[in-house]
């Protein structure tokens, strides 16, 4: 119930393509779904986040799509660039939670 399942584990995309990373959850009490981006040798950093009262949130080339009925959410990276090459983690939390529940991560490689 507390898990967040993330797929794929790795993803290779050509420059200019769309990268899509998916996450699924079971706990309907989750009310906050962030994505963290981690570059090699660095700690993760918050990229974008969504609440379940909206179905989509866009920030530049990054979009979260949220499907409450299916209990799934995904990160779309439009016009993917080599500089987007990183590991991406989805996460979820319940209100007033002590901690985030992280997915297992997706390593994205964007080739020129």
């Amino acid at each position: 119930q507390q898990q967040v399942k993330q797929s794929p584990q790795s993803l290779i995309v050509q420059k200019g393509g769309i990268s899509i990373i998916n996450c699924a959850y079971e706990n309907t009490a989750f009310d906050y779904f962030p994505w963290y981006q981690q570059f090699p040798g660095k700690g993760p950093a918050l990229l974008i986040a969504i609440r379940p009262d909206v179905s989509e949130k866009k920030e530049g080339r990054f979009t979260i799509s949220f499907n409450k009925s299916a209990k799934q959410f995904s990160l779309h990276i439009m016009d993917s660039q080599p500089g987007d090459s990183a590991t991406y983690f989805c996460a979820a939390s319940i209100p007033l939670a002590d901690k985030l529940i992280f997915g297992t991560g997706t390593r994205l490689q964007v080739f020129p």
């Binding site: 993330q6 584990q9 009310d31 906050y32 962030p34 963290y36 040798g41 660095k42 700690g43 993760p44 950093a45 918050l46 986040a49 609440r51 983690f89 939390s93 319940i94 209100p95 007033l96 939670a97 002590d98 901690k99 985030l100 992280f102 997915g103 297992t104 991560g105």
Partner: protein
């Protein structure tokens, strides 16, 4: 503004040795966390603290101890290191107990146990 600082950045231990990882944050955050990151396993929570003088177990606490004697510092100890503890360790902090608060991570400690 340094954010979250971890020391050391790299360390090699022999099996059975002990060591302490230090995490310091200068943002006056209440909550602090220790994670380990292993290939294919994502970020797994070891221990965390919701305030000075408090600690709690996460998903994988065995073999580790922590202390939060000062609000700005969170120490992770390995009393008798094992090869299974070879990993990258990340410290993180956040301001409050609101679930939507942003986590700030340090740059990690690469630990190898031979």
């Amino acid at each position: 503004n340094a954010g979250v600082t971890q020391t050391p950045k790299f360390r090699v231990l022999k099996t059975g040795q002990s060591m302490t990882l230090l995490c310091a944050q200068d943002m006056n955050h209440e909550y602090m966390y220790w994670y380990r990151q292993d290939p294919g396993m994502g970020l797994r929570l070891i221990h965390y603290s919701v305030g000075e003088g408090t600690t709690a177990k996460g998903e994988v606490p065995d073999g580790y101890n922590v202390s939060r004697l000062k609000k700005q510092n969170f120490l992770l100890g390995l009393e008798s290191a094992a090869p299974s503890q070879t990993s990258v360790y990340f410290c993180a902090s956040r301001r409050s107990d609101r679930g939507r608060e942003k986590l700030f991570f340090g740059s990690g400690t690469q630990l190898s146990v031979l």
